[in-house]
């Protein structure tokens, strides 16, 4: 099905952009009339994926992050967060709760679990050396 609307934004992997990214996607999603709870779930999931690109994808470097969000009729929202960073070797292991390769003072290995809990679908494509794309889907229910 063709998306009824979409946005695409690209920004450098600076942590100052984390707030901008989640608010921009939330503002776009608001066209589907989500509840306050749905909006905060979308914001949190986007924040997790963007933070992962910044801290894991571009660990010692900086690079572009591209977010594409699409809204389909019936309230299906898809969001992809793409980086051209290091990539992930073992995606299944990376998605396990509490698994982290990060600094344990700063990371707890819960990012993917949070995305999976707050969104209806989470898909990860990644190749070592060429980057990671996280695709999130949420169905925003119509309200009377």
């Amino acid at each position: 099905m063709k998306a009824s609307n979409h946005i695409r934004l690209t920004f450098p992997s600076r942590s100052a952009n984390e707030g901008f990214a989640r608010i921009a996607v939330a503002a776009f999603a608001s066209q589907a009339d989500p509840t306050v709870e749905e909006i905060s779930e979308i914001k949190t999931a986007v924040s997790e994926a963007v933070t992962n690109s910044i801290v894991h994808g571009y660990k010692e470097s900086f690079g572009p992050i591209t977010i594409t969000a699409r809204l389909y009729e019936g309230g299906r929202l898809t969001i992809t967060i793409k980086d051209k960073g290091e990539g992930i070797d073992d995606i299944k292991q990376a998605m396990e709760p509490l698994f982290t390769t990060g600094n344990e003072e700063e990371r707890s290995g819960m990012g993917f679990t949070i995305m999976e809990t707050f969104m209806d679908k989470v898909k990860v494509h990644s190749r070592r050396g060429s980057g990671t794309t996280v695709a999130l889907t949420k169905y925003i229910k119509a309200r009377p």
């Binding site: 924040s47 933070t51 990012g111």
Partner: protein, 104 residues
């Protein structure tokens, strides 16, 4: 993110206000740790009542402070959690490491 501290006897209360993400996390941790080292409280109370957004970076902030409080034989209590931060704490089973006050 804004932090307000209240010190009463051997308790240190920190009121977190605003958005908690990776961007502000290191500064938040550093500021709270500075206060802990200075006052050496028995109990650190972290009040999330003013938090409008939190992601997994908030978990590491709590776990890191609990580690520091442990090292001075103190403990941590978390207050006024509401969704989605509350759900995130539950996913990570943080109540195994810190006291989560039951709100009435």
């Amino acid at each position: 993110m804004n932090l307000k501290f209240i010190q009463n006897y051997n308790e240190l209360e920190v009121h977190l206000q605003g958005e908690i993400d990776h961007h502000c996390a290191a500064a938040v941790a550093k500021t709270i740790d500075f206060k802990i080292r200075r006052h050496r409280p028995i109990l650190l109370i972290m009040d999330f009542g003013g938090v409008s957004f939190m992601d997994s970076s908030g978990l590491a902030i709590v776990m890191g402070r609990r580690k520091l409080m442990d090292s001075i034989d103190g403990s941590v209590e978390v207050r006024h959690l509401c969704n989605p931060a509350k759900k995130i704490f539950e996913m990570a089973q943080l109540d195994r490491y810190v006291t989560v006050r039951k709100e009435v």
